[in-house]
Every structure is written in C-alpha cells, then in structure tokens.
C-alpha cells in the first residue's frame, strides 16, 4: 500500500531522486564488496595460520624431496602472498574450495548437499523465535512491571544464558531416552530416507509438494526438538528487543494523542506503536537468523542433523582445512546475504528511507 503511494508521487525532483537512489545502491554494493573481500582475507589468513604443511597433507609424509618440491611449486606456495591470495580469490569465484580429505568430494558439492538442511532448521527456528518472541516482547512492554513482564524477562535471560549444546543433550536424555517421544537424531527415519528428492532441498517442503505425508511427518518429528531449542534462543533475543523497541514507542507523544482520541488499547498498541517498530524488528530478526547459524553448529552436532554445522565440526575434528574454510566462508556469506536482504526490505517498508 505504501509503495503504490510512492510510485504515484512524481514531481520535478524525481530524476534527482533516482540518481541519489542509484548512488545509494552503488555505495551499498561497494560496502558489500569490501565486506566480502574482508571475509576472504580472513579465511585466507586462517588457512595460512594452520601449522600443518599443506603439501604433506596432499601427498603424505612418505613422498621424496623431489615430489615435495614439485607439488610445493604446483600449489603456488613459492609465490609471494598476494599472488597466492589472487589464486585463492580466483578459485573462490569459480566456487572451487578444493577437495575434502574425508569425503573425497569437492567441498562445493559437499556444501551444496548439506546446506539445505541447515537453512531448513535455522528458518524454522527463526519463525518459532519471532512467532513467540515478538508478541511476548510487545506484551511485556505494554504491561511493564507486571508479572507478565517479569516472567518474560526471566524467560528471556534464561534463553540468553543457556548453553545450547547442553540443553540439546538434556532434551535427548529426557524426551528420547526416558520417554521415547522424539527420535534420537538425524533428519528422517531410515526407511523414509531418499523417498523424496525435491526442488527445494527442504524435506518438509519437498514432501508436501510430492504429497508424501508419511515422509513429512517423519521429517517434522525429527526437526521439532532442535528447532524448538534454537527457536528458544532466538525468542529470548527477539522478545527482549521488541520489548525495548515498544517501550521507546509507547513513550512518544503520538501514543498519547491516539489514546486521547479515544482509541482502544489494541488499536494503539498494534496499529500505531507496533507499526512503527516493524522496520527495527526486521533488522533484529535478520541478526537473530545470523546468530542461529552459530547455534546450528552446536545443535546439529548434538542431534546428528546432517547440515552445515555438523559438516564443519566433523571437518574440524579431522583437520580437513579445505572443508573448514569452505564452510566458514559460506556461513559468512549467508550472514552478509541476510543482512543485505533485510536492508532491501527495510527500504521497501520504511518510507523515510526513500
């Protein structure tokens, strides 16, 4: 509704506006490029810091000196660092992260395989976190100082303070080992595995699309515990943030005006105050999503969830540096992409940024 209004406004200044819009886009593009470059510098440096000799890692310690020297040269290790970085850059642009020592596949094909599982988990967790966290925060702000507020604060702080890997382990101990209510780990029951291979890579969506309800419920059964635990962490953050955003709004004079006009509580809170925090909320939801990528590393390890996090930790365990650097780079890029996306949507829904 807002955007249609904006397109109809075409005054004499619209050409100038377009130019400044283009400049803004160019600037944010430059910012993203430098951030990406910085990301690559960091992963490159991390790769160089590794004490293990990359040549020996490739050919083994039985090889003779001649082979060693040849491979050393082939890998470009005799060249200056900036040339090596250039090669690294060229490899990354071609999506060539090298080969994984464990799986013997290229890292990029491995990443493509594990990536959807993580996105599925993190997205579901963000939805849970926002679905519970935002209303809780809003209600806490409206009923500041009441028991709801205190409860919300305690729930939030607990979410901030709980070691997520430990919570996952305890949930497995109680709900899997004692009561058998949830599966012990993984993404789906073995006998349902491979039944659905779909376009999205998310088992939940793919099984719906294929109409395989048994697969859907099996996948849902598996995802529920890890998604709820991660969602709780996101909820803690989001409820706290929405509470403080709402408090800020409720102090404003337009709220007083709205109340003086005789508007009911619901209209004041949701149609006036909440409308104004949507933009800020979007930014923190994006941040929460990025934060969850951290959580997935731990929770995937606990729940044997075959995603990026588990791939990363098993690569760490076997010092498979190509796989480690590829995963780290991918996670960094997802973060940047999410922030970029929230930035774009932000421009759409906040008229002040146009």
């Amino acid at each position: 509704m807002i955007s249609s209004q904006a397109t109809t406004v075409k005054g004499p200044g619209s050409g100038k506006k377009l130019l400044s819009g283009a400049r803004k886009i160019a600037t944010s593009f430059a910012v993203i490029l430098t951030t990406l470059l910085g990301l690559l510098v960091i992963t490159f440096v991390i790769g160089r810091l590794v004490p293990a000799d990359p040549v020996i890692a490739a050919i083994g310690d039985q090889a003779d000196q001649v082979t060693y020297d040849r491979v050393y040269k082939e890998m470009g290790l005799d060249r200056p660092l900036y040339v090596q970085f250039g090669h690294y850059l060229a490899d990354v642009v071609r999506l060539d992260f090298g080969q994984s020592h464990i799986t013997k596949n290229t890292v990029s094909s491995d990443l493509a395989r594990v990536f959807p599982a993580t996105i599925e988990l993190a997205t579901l967790a963000t939805l849970i976190g926002a679905g519970f966290g935002v209303p809780l925060g809003v209600i806490s702000a409206v009923r500041k100082g009441t028991w709801v507020d205190h409860l919300g604060r305690v729930v939030g702080l607990l979410g901030y303070s709980t070691p997520i890997f430990w919570l996952g382990t305890i949930v497995i101990l109680i709900f899997y080992a004692k009561f058998g209510l949830i599966p012990g780990g993984g993404r789906i029951d073995i006998y349902n595995e491979g039944l659905v291979e779909g376009p999205t890579g998310s088992l939940l969506l793919d099984s719906i699309l294929a109409g395989e309800w048994e697969v859907f419920f099996s996948a849902l059964h598996h995802v529920i515990a890890p998604a709820l635990i991660l969602g709780y962490a996101a909820m803690a953050y989001l409820s706290r943030m929405s509470r403080s955003f709402m408090l800020e709004q409720l102090r404003q004079e337009y709220i007083l005006t709205a109340r003086a006009k005789g508007l009911g509580q619901r209209a004041v809170v949701w149609r006036h105050a909440f409308r104004n925090i949507r933009v800020q909320l979007l930014t923190v939801v994006a941040l929460a999503y990025c934060g969850l990528l951290d959580g997935t590393v731990l929770i995937e390890t606990v729940f044997a969830w075959p995603g990026l996090g588990q791939y990363l930790t098993s690569a760490l365990f076997f010092a498979d540096m190509n796989a480690v650097l590829g995963s780290v780079l991918l996670i960094g890029m997802i973060s940047i992409a999410i922030n970029l996306l929230s930035d774009i949507v932000y421009r759409f829904i906040d008229p002040r940024t146009r």
């Binding site: 991390i46 303070s161 430990w166 960094g332």
Partner: protein, 304 residues
C-alpha cells in the same frame, strides 16, 4: 547499639549531597550505586553468584578434598553420594572437585579475554569516533567484517587453525568480542566529540591521546562496563562451546564445556556427568546477565 549509630552516621555522611570534598562525592556516587544494586534483587543475586564464583576459584584447594586430576578407575562412574557430592566421572575423578577447579578455567578465560578486548575495542572505537573521516570509515569497515561472521563460527575457525588449547581459545574468542565494544566506544565518543569541554581541551593544546584518555574514556566507561559484563556471559558460553567441540581447554584440564561433552558418552548411565557442568555454565552465565542488566539500570537509566 554504638556500632549501629556509627553505621547510621556513615550512611548519612555518604548519602549527604552537600559534599565537602571530591572524595566524599566519589564515595557518595559509589554508595548510591551500591544501594541501587541492593534494591534490585535479581541484580544482587547475580552479583552474589559472581562473587562466589571468584571466591570458589581462589579457594579451590581449600574447599575440596580431592585432586582434580587423580584417577581411580575402581571408583569410576559412581552416582552422587556423601563421599562424592556430584559423583565421579569415567576415570573415577570427583566431579565436584573438577567443577570447583573448572571455575578457575572459566574465570581465567573470561578475564583474559576481557583484559585483551577492552583496551583494543576502546582504542579502535574511540579513535574512529574522534578522528572521523577516512580513519573512521576504514576502522568501522574492518569492524563490520568481523561482525559479519557469527561469533562461534569465527572462533571455531581461528582455534582450528591456531590449534586446540586454552590460550588459542582465548585469542579466538577475543577476535570475536572486540567489534561490538569498538562500535559502542565509537558511538559514545561521537556524542562527546563536539562537546564544549573537548573543544576547550583542544584549544588548550591537549593532544589526541590526552583527550581520549582523560576526557572521553571516563565518560564512555559506564556503558562499556555494562557491555563487558553482559559479554562475560557470551564469552563463557563460547568458551564452553569450544570446549564441547574439543577445541578449548584440553583434557585433563577441568573445563565445564569439555566435562559436559565427555559425559555425553555415558549419558544414559551417568546423567550427572553432563547435567551438572551444564547447570554450572547456565548459573554463571545467567548471573553475569542479571548483574549486567542491573548495572545498566543503574548506570544507564534510559534503557530500564
């Protein structure tokens, strides 16, 4: 009775706002902060837990009767008892003892990280805010690059390449903690950058270092201290996460995250091995959050 009245007069002296000396004014400020901490039961609880963590870490040998490293396989995996309050682990070591010594590891990591991070974050943020221009752009760009990584993943990558171990974990965590501090210090500096007292100091010929250290740092300090206290909790959780993944403190060193991780193999037979260290992590990290929250209410009432 006499003691009581001397307390009352001390209280009156401290609460009195007609100061006769700078010292009285300073003590008054600290006393009022202390009273507001006492008035906030949650924050005070956090304070007490943090205090007892420190006491436990210092007095570790005095409050345990076992050695955290000595193994006794004949006593492995014993449940909770009067001899072993929190049972024994797979090597027959007393879990209570290891928990107490683990407090040292936790404190060691979080204090070391804070000592490294506070001055670096301050320096980068305050310099960027004070100088502005391209220095600001470059420094903040670097900060943003570090911020764009989820912190545990960055810490994982660094400790993987530096090699496992507690010192490397400290470096890795520090690398992820400094950017928010720098951001905050910059924002705070910007609010004072053009204040009259800064301009006056500049006119008197004060150099940048002097202005930063004497005028800007003291004003940024409260919000940075709050941030650092709240950070303690995330440092502890990250350290525990690294320990859990085998990248932090190495065995046999007692560390809560690593203890919880090694207990997972015996989860069904010995629940206490994983549960108890986790409760310890949760308690301490919650305490730092409560304390930080309370400190913010006291030092920075805008966000209360």
């Amino acid at each position: 009775m006499t003691q009581n009245s001397s307390f009352t007069s001390l209280h009156n002296w401290l609460i009195n706002e007609e100061f006769t000396s700078t010292r009285q004014a300073r003590l008054h400020k600290m006393y009022v902060a202390w009273l507001s901490l006492l008035a906030n039961p949650l924050a005070f609880t956090g304070f007490l837990v943090v205090l007892s963590l420190i006491v436990v870490a210092i007095l570790a040998p005095a409050i345990t009767s076992y050695d955290p490293y000595s193994q006794d396989l004949s006593r492995a995996l014993q449940p909770l008892s009067w001899q072993h309050w929190f049972g024994t682990d797979e090597f027959g070591r007393d879990v209570y003892t290891r928990l107490v010594y683990g407090a040292r590891t936790t404190l060691y990591i979080s204090i070391l990280v804070t000592i490294i991070v506070a001055p670096i974050g301050f320096l980068i943020g305050a310099t960027a805010g004070y100088l502005g221009g391209w220095v600001d752009i470059v420094l903040m760009r670097i900060t943003d690059i570090f911020l764009s990584f989820p912190s545990l993943v960055l810490a994982l990558a660094f400790s993987a390449s530096l090699g496992p171990g507690i010192e490397n974990a400290v470096i890795a965590i520090a690398l992820t903690v400094w950017p928010p501090i720098a951001r905050l210090a910059r924002a705070e500096t910007l609010t004072f950058r053009n204040a009259d007292f800064v301009v006056a100091a500049e006119l008197q010929g004060a150099g940048m270092i002097r202005i930063l250290v004497r005028h800007i740092v003291p004003l940024c300090a409260p919000s940075v201290v709050v941030r650092l206290t709240l950070n303690m909790s995330s440092i502890i959780l990250t350290a525990a996460g690294l320990g859990f993944l085998g990248l932090g403190a190495q065995p046999p060193m007692p560390e809560w995250g690593a203890m919880a991780a090694s207990g997972r193999q015996y989860l069904l037979d010995a629940w206490w091995l994983t549960t108890i260290p986790g409760v310890a992590i949760l308690t301490v990290s919650l305490a730092f959050n409560l304390l930080g929250d309370g400190l913010r209410d006291i030092l920075d009432p805008r966000n209360a």
